[in-house]
Symmetry: C2
């Protein structure tokens, strides 16, 4: 098989800089890419049972061909794997595999595997090298870029983790052919987000070209590359999320609360929560006279066109009341000293960080939306 040369997106983080390669066939080329960049390193491959079945033979053959030693560390699929007990098991498997400090941990999977493996890489031997081979659209455009890793605890999601940058990201867009339509759409919500944050031309391009992304045309590589470039630029400005990086949370404060309210279950996957959250963020911004109601309608129309949910009424099984949703919002780790920080917008592609959003206004807005359900 031959493929078009991958697109390279550099992430500029000083001595932690790295490249994201985007293209078809990168799974099979992983051994050569790693050998040329990290000669002599051995690899612990962290993956889940489903992905091991689908992709581990190809990856193992690629590493073997490049003379790279490897040990598999296979975890169960699903968000519940991002737990302390699986974290401990993965870290200990890496140590038991006798990997050394210069060796590397490779995450073959979506956001769950990437977050778990990255956190394990951050702490095994106080920090090992890390390669992401994201297998979902969500992971390719979001979680594999930027170095956030972590696990969940009963106290909340992603409250435990580390900033640990990968040394290389291999985004094989061909792997996305095997995703379910629902999972592909959920990842697409994050693609649309980059347009909504600060790139109105990209959002307009998506409105025209989204079918090519879903169908696996060259639009897909372009959309992944634009998304990664957008995220890389924000991360380069604010690696540890003390400022601008918060923009990436557009739609996420509402979205996380909805995910929590539905028990992080199949009732609402992350990207679906973000889709509804982005519509709510635009509508709430319009309510605060920051943008026009037309902006919210335009966002809703596009997300609905690709098949994403855009309203609270589309969440199966009912929702708690506004007070409970507010409590879930307040529990979000982006709370700083008791004030609510939201990402609001002045229009499509004009998002901004709003500190000191009045909680009463948010509560009233949510109560109204819940009544419409």
């Amino acid at each position: 098989m031959t493929f078009a040369a991958p697109i390279t997106v550099p992430v500029a983080l000083g001595d932690r800089s790295y490249d994201i390669l985007i293209g078809r066939g990168l799974l099979a080329a992983a051994g050569a890419e790693i050998a040329s960049r990290m000669p002599k390193a051995r690899v612990a491959i962290v993956t889940d049972e489903n992905l091991a079945r689908l992709h581990l033979p190809t990856l193992a053959a690629s590493l073997d061909a490049a003379g790279i030693g490897h040990v598999p560390v296979v975890v169960p699929p699903g968000e519940s794997t991002k737990s302390f007990s699986h974290f401990e098991a993965v870290v200990r498997a890496i140590l038991a595999g006798r990997l050394e400090r210069g060796d590397l941990v490779l995450a073959l999977g979506g956001g769950v595997v990437g977050d778990l493996a990255g956190f394990a890489a951050a702490v095994a031997r106080r920090g090992m090298r890390f390669v992401q081979l994201p297998t979902s659209l969500l992971a390719q455009v979001d979680s594999s870029v930027g170095g956030k890793t972590g696990i969940n605890t009963p106290e909340g999601k992603n409250l435990v983790g580390a900033f640990h940058q990968p040394d290389l990201v291999l985004a094989d867009t061909g792997l996305l052919d095997t995703l379910s339509p629902r999972e592909f759409r959920a990842g697409y919500a994050e693609v649309a987000k980059y347009g909504l944050i600060d790139d109105p031309a990209f959002f307009a391009w998506l409105e025209e070209n989204w079918r090519g992304i879903f169908a696996g045309g060259p639009e897909r590589e372009h959309a992944v590359a634009v998304s990664c470039r957008a995220k890389a630029a924000v991360v380069a400005r604010d690696e540890k999320e003390t400022g601008d990086r918060a923009l990436l949370n557009l739609g996420h404060t509402f979205g996380h609360a909805l995910e929590a309210a539905t028990g992080y279950s199949d009732r609402l996957v992350h990207g679906e929560g973000v889709a509804i959250g982005m519509v709510l963020a635009h509508d709430f911004s319009a309510r605060m006279n920051l943008c026009s109601p037309d902006d919210g309608r335009r966002v809703k129309a596009h997300l609905a066109a690709v098949g994403l949910p855009t309203t609270l009424g589309e969440i199966a099984g009912g929702l708690p009341d506004a007070d409970r949703l507010m409590a879930l919002i307040a529990q979000d780790k982006k709370v700083t000293r008791g004030t609510l920080t939201f990402i609001l917008t002045r229009g499509v592609g004009e998002a901004f960080i709003a500190r000191d959003v009045p909680p009463e206004a948010v509560r009233g807005f949510l109560a109204e939306r819940l009544e419409e359900v």
Copy 2:
């Protein structure tokens, strides 16, 4: 109570720089020091049951007086507390205390509490601020400085952790008055180490003045300050231990193997392993014709004078054979790609990093020493 002004030792690490304050009375002054440097921060105090009884009331009163909110997180005493399960418990207690990202974790304790609390601070909310209030001599001159944090697993000691620099270290030398003589001596081994690495004048000063350090005269603050300065200088050159920082392992490769061989028990505490290890490092260096046998004799004489063990024969309960000790040495995480790295010396105060030490020479040397037991 009034005390002499504390000695300040700055640790220069760019935007992670911080001060070590050294003096009597700093426990009672902790609230004021923290309030002036980190206004509005709340504090999770991690400590063990014994230290909570001894020191928590004074610390809590000091924080109260400064208007600083605090929650205690009390763990059992002893090395076995540096485990995954206690790590999880401490992290979750910090989250349950609703501490935010700008709040801080304070370690009130020795190396165990500092390593555990520091690792928890590194990962709770992906990194919180961290203050060390070391209560043992070992912690004041070694583990509280430099940002190494971590826990043990069945695979080995300190193989899991993070580099997470404190924002402030408060070394209250008055707290050392309550240490057992054995614990004080064990910490002293690390003080002597700084002389042996690269400061022969300090080692000569210790030979003359060690009684004042043990007795609690002003020699104590001086020795702690010289030790912290020495460690800070090495850490500033090589924060992540890719080079020079390995010098701090003088005596530790042998020492760790002996600790492992005795099950990390009361048979041999860390500083005692280091004392014997430093004598072995000098003797082995003499065997390799790097220094004179007189250097080893001088080191041994001083460490024996303060009451530290200096020979394998002083370890109660017997030792495994040389092959087993070599296996324990090879398991040490400072192994890089199969070659042995040792800290050897050309004389008192002239230690250096020796890569590619022939394992056979070490094995033969150990076998001989074991026969003498």
